[in-house]
Amino acid sequence: MGWPLIRVYTLLVYLFMFLPVAVVVLLSFNASQFGSFPMTGLSFRWFVELAQNEAILRAFRTSLVLGALTALISTTLGVLASLALVRYNIAGRNLISTLLIAPILVPEVVLAVALLLFLNFLSINKSFFLLLMGHVIFTLPFVILVVQARLVGIRRDYEEAALSLGASPVQTFFQITLPLLAPAVFAGMLFAFTISFDDITGTLFWKPGGVETVPTQIFAMLRNSISPEINALGTVMIFLTVGLPLLGLAIARRMAMQRGG
């Protein structure tokens, strides 16, 4: 295959990845009352209806709280475990690493069934607590992988310097290690939040009746038929999960450049 051919091929692959999503965004501004072609005009009416839909707003709140708590717990556990793996020479490190990422290797359906049935056996029914535990367990490996990758790049010298100058280990952790770690912690939290916010497979098993997250709400709405409201909701989700991180990245880069210049 010649180079120009590979270029065109790659372009087509990227179009395949993004065109359907672009159509969702396009149709969400369609004035027509059916969520489909042709476009009869530009309108924000579906976003207005979205903002007035009590069920969707509730789902948003549930997803946000669930994602935030998942990120908090998962990142705390993940950062501690990563510190142990990167900073210490421990016996059986490979085994421990494998155990910690095991939740990725088990199909999510199986993980969902096992957790649901076991906690039910302990008389813990479907609840927000079960949902949270489930989200923590399958986001934890990703947090550990991301945090570990960042941690390897942080030199130990600074900590040793602080210790040799008389700081206690706890002081050293909070004043030296944690600030150096902040980007890793932030990346882990963002990752955990996004995975939790997007999850549907486990969530459908764990969620109590009447509780919906944004993905399960979209799924329930799809049962009827595709409506312009779903496209609008999709557009909002895309903006939140893609637009905001990109904006954050751009701001961070700008700030770094200003500091550098």
Partner: protein, 288 residues
């Protein structure tokens, strides 16, 4: 306590919350459903504890379950091959391009940030009765009535490929990044053609990435149940749909346990074979 003893205990204190969580929320529950799969759900809806082989007998010999297991594996295999065919050249292009590599990589990461359910349902806008393709066909006068292109096995595979392609491209890209370009140049200077150099040098060296991407695509597609529900018809159930049906709809939890363990066994065996030959290192590289 001596300093050394404290130094030795510290990592375990740091590890214990995560290990406890994974032990209590993954390993103990997995062990529990192994035991549970031998219990029996009686007609009254109560569970009969004991050692009954009925659920396993049903999961292993019922042709209904067996057929769906095979069709699930077939769908996963086709999806994996399609991802490899679509993904490899794209990954090669990204790895070897000079100017816009950062942009291409950023774009490649974007699908991971877009909700799975939205990416899946987006195909209804494209292929549905009132979707983009039908609209074009009608306006060009090629068809006089909209055609239903959705809700069959090919659209399930299409949805899975769309969802999993970025995993494949990323894994192959990571492997190709590790292959020195000058190796290909060396092969060329020794008289091989570009294509030969690629086939004999670069391709074999990138196979671990292809295998890692392939494993991810296969395992993730074989375990899915949302895509067939959104893009498949009534007869396009995959194995995870059976699990969901048994657990959530029929409330036959012992049978559901046996079915989930079947799925875990088949996919776990695949992961073990992979691990035996290639190790987990490459997979972790692609995930991190």
């Amino acid at each position: 306590m001596s300093v050394e003893a404290r130094e030795r205990r510290q990592p375990w204190i740091l590890l214990s919350p995560a290990l406890t969580a994974i032990g209590l929320l993954l390993f103990v529950p997995l062990f529990f459903i192994v035991v549970y799969s031998f219990w029996l759900r009686t007609a009254t809806g109560a569970d009969q504890a004991g050692f009954y082989l009925d659920n396993w007998n049903e999961a292993l010999t019922d042709p209904f379950y067996r057929d769906i297991l095979f069709s699930t594996l077939r769908i996963a295999a086709i999806t994996t091959v399609a991802c490899a065919v679509l993904g490899y050249p794209a990954a090669y292009f990204i790895a070897r391009s000079k100017g816009n590599k950062a942009l291409l990589l950023l774009l490649l990461m974007l699908p991971f940030w877009i909700s799975y359910i939205i990416r899946t349902m987006s195909w209804i806008n494209i292929l549905g009765v009132s979707g983009a393709v039908n609209w074009v066909l009608l306006n060009l006068g090629i068809t006089s009535e909209p055609i239903q292109m959705l809700y069959n096995e090919p659209t399930v595979i299409l949805g899975l490929v769309h969802f999993l392609l970025p995993f494949m491209v990323l894994n192959v890209y990571v492997a190709l990044e590790g292959v020195d370009v000058s190796l290909e140049d060396a092969a060329c200077s020794l008289g091989s053609t570009r294509w030969q150099a690629f086939r004999e040098v670069t391709l074999p060296l990138s196979l671990p990435g292809l295998a890692a991407g392939g494993l991810l695509c296969f395992v993730l597609s074989a375990g899915t149940y949302i895509t067939p529900l959104v893009l498949g018809g009534p007869t396009d159930a995959m194995y995870a749909n059976l699990v969901f049906e048994a657990i959530i709809t029929q409330l036959n939890w012992p049978l559901g346990s046996a079915l989930s363990l079947m799925l875990l066994g088949v996919l776990g065996a695949l992961v073990l074979v992979y691990n035996h030959y290639l190790g987990m290192g490459q997979l972790m590289k692609g995930l991190g």
